[in-house]
């Protein structure tokens, strides 16, 4: 029924359409009148968060130029507006599909997996063509970008052939017939367009996914991304499906708030997803079994725990509360925060040292922030207060040493917040 109505609209617009077609020099153009496809592409571009990497803040959307930090150096995201010379306006649909789903550039060279084509491969050709149709509709921007700024030997794109043979698997998402439609939708989004694993799945030394630790937390760009499996202690185990969905929609829930790279993902992508899709992602993530690390809490009478308790009471309890439970929607519950207890404490240390600003969304506009304590607490004190927080109120996590804090302090000193 709906399709019919659009088709009628299409026929009515033939005269204008032919004019538009004449003024367009695209080799392989999508039909700018195809609202249904363009709108589907717009939404898929949101779930894929294309705009994040391909836009410099404040500049034209999708015009590229943003430097993406990888463990191997910086890669600059290209211009994907329909500009004929500096964007992808002259690309064929075939070339676009090959780039997005197989990591192959029009000249046959390989893309670097900073572009998550290994995840986008889960999308169908139709999905990708819809994204193309949408990108064809945005304002073309002239902005020539030199993408490959990696050092030797990583600047040799041919090395990616080896990487692909190790870590890249082509093939669209195949639904699991034993699971619900909601679960399958969630699995598609998580592994496909939303490319959650890019940040949340640990990487090998070559940057490939360690599938044995799927979504169990990783490190990138000065932040540790937490475990997002249903692990009770370090994952989403204490969250309800609703908690996960609310977090994705608003950047906040009764336990925690999105900061750092996740704040950007919420702001640009997940907060614009439909309620059905955030529910689907939540349903899928909550179905993933966690690992059991078997960590035992540190004894309360050690020096670091005693000092940490005193520092916590003095510096942290005003907002996070003596019992660590914070204020729902405003101050995170450090007593329930899986991020705080993560094996990799980088983000927890970073937030204490440098402070953090949570994301503001239309549903939760407050965007509360945490001030920096790095100027006031020395490394041993930061370690102590985190040891206390990680091992109190039923939590258990390995001890942090002053050296760990020093590492994060040095690493974040030159990074923007």
């Amino acid at each position: 029924m709906r399709r019919k109505r659009y088709r009628a609209g299409f026929l009515g617009g033939v005269a204008i359409l032919s004019l538009a077609a004449m003024s367009s020099a695209r080799a392989d153009d999508s039909d700018p009148q195809e609202f249904t496809q363009i709108e589907r592409g717009r939404y898929l571009a949101i779930t894929s968060d294309c705009v994040s990497c391909h836009t410099v803040a404040g500049a034209k959307p999708f015009a590229g130029g943003r430097a993406i930090e990888t463990p191997f150096g910086y890669i600059t995201a290209p211009n994907i507006t329909p500009d004929l010379e500096t964007g992808i306006g002259a690309w064929s649909d075939e070339a676009f599909d090959a780039a997005v789903r197989r990591g192959i550039r029009p000249n046959g060279a390989r893309l670097y997996p900073a572009m998550p084509y290994n995840a986008y491969a889960k999308m169908s050709r139709d999905d990708v063509q819809a994204i193309r149709a949408y990108l064809n509709s945005v304002e073309p921007a002239r902005n020539a970008v030199v993408a490959n700024t990696l050092p030797f030997p990583f600047n040799i794109r041919a090395t990616m052939r080896i990487w692909n043979s190790l870590y890249f698997k082509e093939g669209e998402f195949k639904p699991d017939p034993t699971k619900s439609a909601v679960w399958n939708r969630g699995a598609f989004l998580v592994d496909g367009p939303a490319h959650c694993g890019a940040c949340h799945t640990p990487k090998t030394f070559l940057g490939g996914d360690r599938l044995d630790q799927y979504l169990q937390g990783s490190y990138l760009q000065g932040w540790s991304a937490p475990d997002i499996t249903n692990d009770r202690r370090v994952g989403l185990g204490e969250w309800t499906v609703e908690d996960v969905a609310t977090y994705l929609k608003s950047g906040h829930n009764t336990i925690t708030a999105a900061t750092g790279p996740m704040a950007e993902a919420v702001s640009l992508s997940t907060s614009h997803m439909t309620d059905e899709d955030t529910q689907a992602i939540a349903t899928y993530l909550k179905s993933l079994p966690g690992k059991d690390s078997g960590d035992k809490p540190l004894p309360a009478d050690t020096g670091t725990m005693t000092a940490g308790a005193a520092i916590y009471r003095d510096q942290c309890s005003a907002c996070h509360g003596i019992e660590g439970r914070g204020v729902p929607g405003l101050f995170p519950s450090v007593a329930n925060s899986s991020m705080v207890r993560s094996k990799d404490p980088t983000t927890a240390i970073r937030i204490v040292l440098r402070g953090a600003r949570s994301v503001g969304t239309s549903k939760e506009p407050t965007a509360p922030g945490m001030p920096s304590y790095g100027w006031q607490l020395e490394n041993g004190q930061v370690a102590a207060v985190l040891n206390y927080i990680r091992n109190s109120w039923g939590g258990a996590a390995p001890a942090i040493e002053a050296g760990d804090v020093n590492r994060v302090r040095s690493d974040t000193a030159s990074r923007p917040d």
């Binding site: 510096q315 005003a318 907002c319 204020v327 929607g329 405003l330 407050t366 965007a367 509360p368 001030p371």
Partner: protein, 592 residues
């Protein structure tokens, strides 16, 4: 020649409480709004972090958050026959500067004025006869009534999450609240804050003396709250660092916690900080504002044109900008003509410190908030018969101690040496067992013919404009009022069990060097007659109808309460008038 910026629908001058309220209302109306603020951008977690905000030396003693007198100051004199001198270090009041204005560093007392306060001249004349009032007293009615303002009071209270116990809901007196307050349409959004020991003791003593004590309504919240804009506030931690300080716990109502995160998301709002408006520009007729001229921190001059100009700086700066822009006739006390500068007022503050036996009393005075306190209102406004006393006005009084910050809390009983070992011992002995109510008596300050603001003939600012001159003294009526109230207050402190009292009356001459409050009012007052008021009842300039002037500068005189709730309510009231009347038919909203 200033550089000209693209024209906007609205330009807002000064970005504290009233500027933020108006910006939010007018952007909701779909208008394109720019606000221009002299001071810097400020945000709660980054500018008021709990890790260093509790620094009494930096913020209290050294005035961190306030305007530097080097940038702009005023001259002062007590009497018209004296030469005024420039204020070089702030004393009696603290002019705010920066985004959030005084809303950043206030205590957050949330008082409504009494219904009779709005019709003061009529009320007192009817009850006591015109001859009861001092001859040179120039009090006026406001041109609005309490009932008209009630919905706006309610909106501001709910925006801020105000904690309190209602005393009068729709005419029905409520147990535990202020029985003298005007009828409110509903209860406070959050319950009153818990009261510390000495505050509770004051309440008990007042009750035994036959008064009806109640908790002071506060913008320091008793519990977490989500306001109508969806902004979340946290519960107050009773740290005792409110006035002079910003709150990083999201628990004190301020533009930063109740409006700005919502407002800055709007695409039709823009803010320019570190930019000082030097003039409101008029067209050739002199009856229409075309916008403002401002100077940025590089000394560049810019012109921002707009259809509607909102002047929402601090009271004194509003008056000064009107004088510098030649809007409205300057007030002349000799001929008693003109309006701009008329009816300038302050507050009549005093206190009684009570020294208790430290073996019996440990008040743990560190537990506090800016608006904590138990108060009585029996001696405010016209809540009591002034006939036998020979003065008008009054104030609330209460144990409103806001903390025990070390530099200012070294109180010792009268007769103690001022220094040395005995002084140190007395400080130690009394630190935890002294009742120190700060502004314990919060008296009204009525208006007089020779208390006013005008331009100084001698001193100029950095732009070569004359400084504004304050002529201010304390009159017999206020001195009598203060003596009466302070003695009543002392009786209650004594009844609490104090062994020694230090009674500090407010006396003449008015002292510009010692802090009282920052409750400066008047100078561009609202009213019903263009000959005696600069603004009509909607805070619209009589002379330039596309100019509205918000803030306490509109108060014809000052009642015995803190002004901010009324300042915010009047901003909502003016915004309603602009949205529902002015925009449909731009022009004078009141014929005169």
């Amino acid at each position: 020649m200033p550089r000209r910026l693209p024209k906007k629908d609205v330009v807002i001058v000064g970005f504290g409480w009233t500027g933020a309220i108006m910006a939010n209302e007018l952007t909701d109306e779909g208008l394109d709004v720019i606000a221009i603020e002299r001071g810097p951008w400020r945000d709660a977690p980054t500018d008021f972090p709990p890790s260093y905000m509790q620094d009494e030396l930096r913020y209290r003693v050294r005035h961190e958050l306030f305007l530097r007198p080097d940038q702009l100051t005023f001259t002062f004199r007590n009497r018209m026959n004296q030469a005024a001198l420039p204020i070089r270090s702030w004393g009696a009041f603290m002019p705010p500067n920066g985004v959030g204005g005084g809303g950043v560093h206030w205590n957050a007392e949330m008082w409504r004025f009494l219904p009779s306060d709005f019709v003061l001249k009529t009320h007192l004349t009817e009850r006591y006869g015109a001859s009861f009032l001092p001859e040179d007293m120039t009090i006026q009615d406001w041109g609005i009534t309490y009932d008209e303002l009630e919905p706006s009071y309610d909106r501001f209270e709910y925006l801020c999450g105000t904690s309190g116990t209602a005393g009068n809901i729709k005419g029905k007196i409520q147990e535990g609240g202020n029985p003298f307050e005007g009828p409110r349409s509903r209860a406070y959004p959050t319950p009153a804050q818990a009261q510390p020991f000495s505050h509770t003791l004051f309440g008990n003593a007042a009750r035994e003396l036959g008064y009806k004590p109640f908790p002071q309504p506060s913008g320091n919240l008793s519990q977490a709250y989500t306001n109508p804009l969806g902004l979340r506030m946290g519960p107050c931690t009773y740290c005792g660092f409110c006035e002079w300080f910003g709150c990083s716990n999201y628990s004190k109502a301020s533009p930063q916690t109740t409006i700005l995160p919502y407002l800055v998301r709007k695409p039709n709002f823009a803010l320019r900080d570190k930019s000082e408006v030097v003039r409101i520009n008029l067209d050739r007729s002199g009856k229409r504002a075309t916008g403002v001229t401002f100077v940025d921190s590089s000394g560049e001059e810019w012109e921002q044109q707009a259809d509607l100009v909102i002047l929402s700086a601090f009271a004194l700066f509003n008056v000064q900008l009107l004088l510098h822009s030649n809007i409205g006739q300057p007030y002349d006390p000799v001929t008693n003509t003109g309006v701009v500068g008329r009816n300038y007022t302050h507050q009549t503050m005093s206190t009684v410190n009570g020294f208790f036996d430290n073996k019996k009393f440990n008040f743990n005075p560190f537990i506090a908030s800016g608006a904590i306190g138990m108060c009585i209102d029996e001696f405010n406004g016209d809540n009591f018969d002034h006939g036998p006393h020979g003065f008008v006005g009054g104030g609330y009084m209460g144990q409103v101690q806001t903390g025990a910050r070390p530099i200012e809390s070294t109180l010792v009983p009268p007769g103690t040496p001022k220094w040395g070992a005995d002084w140190k011992k007395a400080v130690k002995d009394n630190y935890l067992s002294t009742v120190k109510p700060g502004g314990g008596v919060h008296g009204s300050f009525y208006a007089y013919r020779d208390i006013y603001l005008d331009l100084d003939p001698a001193y100029k600012d950095r732009f070569g404009r004359p400084l504004m001159r304050i002529t201010m003294d304390l009159k017999e009526n206020e001195i009598k009022q203060n003596k009466f109230l302070t003695d009543k207050f002392a009786e209650i402190i004594k009844a609490m069990g104090a062994e020694k009292l230090a009674v500090q009356y407010r006396t003449a001459p008015y002292d510009i060097t010692v802090y009282q409050t920052t409750h400066l009012n008047g100078g561009a007052i609202m009213g019903t007659d263009p000959k005696t008021s600069a603004l009509n009842r909607y805070l619209q300039s009589w002379d330039v109808p596309n100019l509205f002037v918000l803030g306490a500068s509109a108060f014809p005189q000052n009642p015995g309460y803190n002004p901010t709730l009324t300042v915010g309510a009047l901003a909502f009231w003016a915004a309603d008038a602009i949205r529902s009347q002015y925009l449909k038919n731009p022009g004078r909203l009141v014929d005169a």
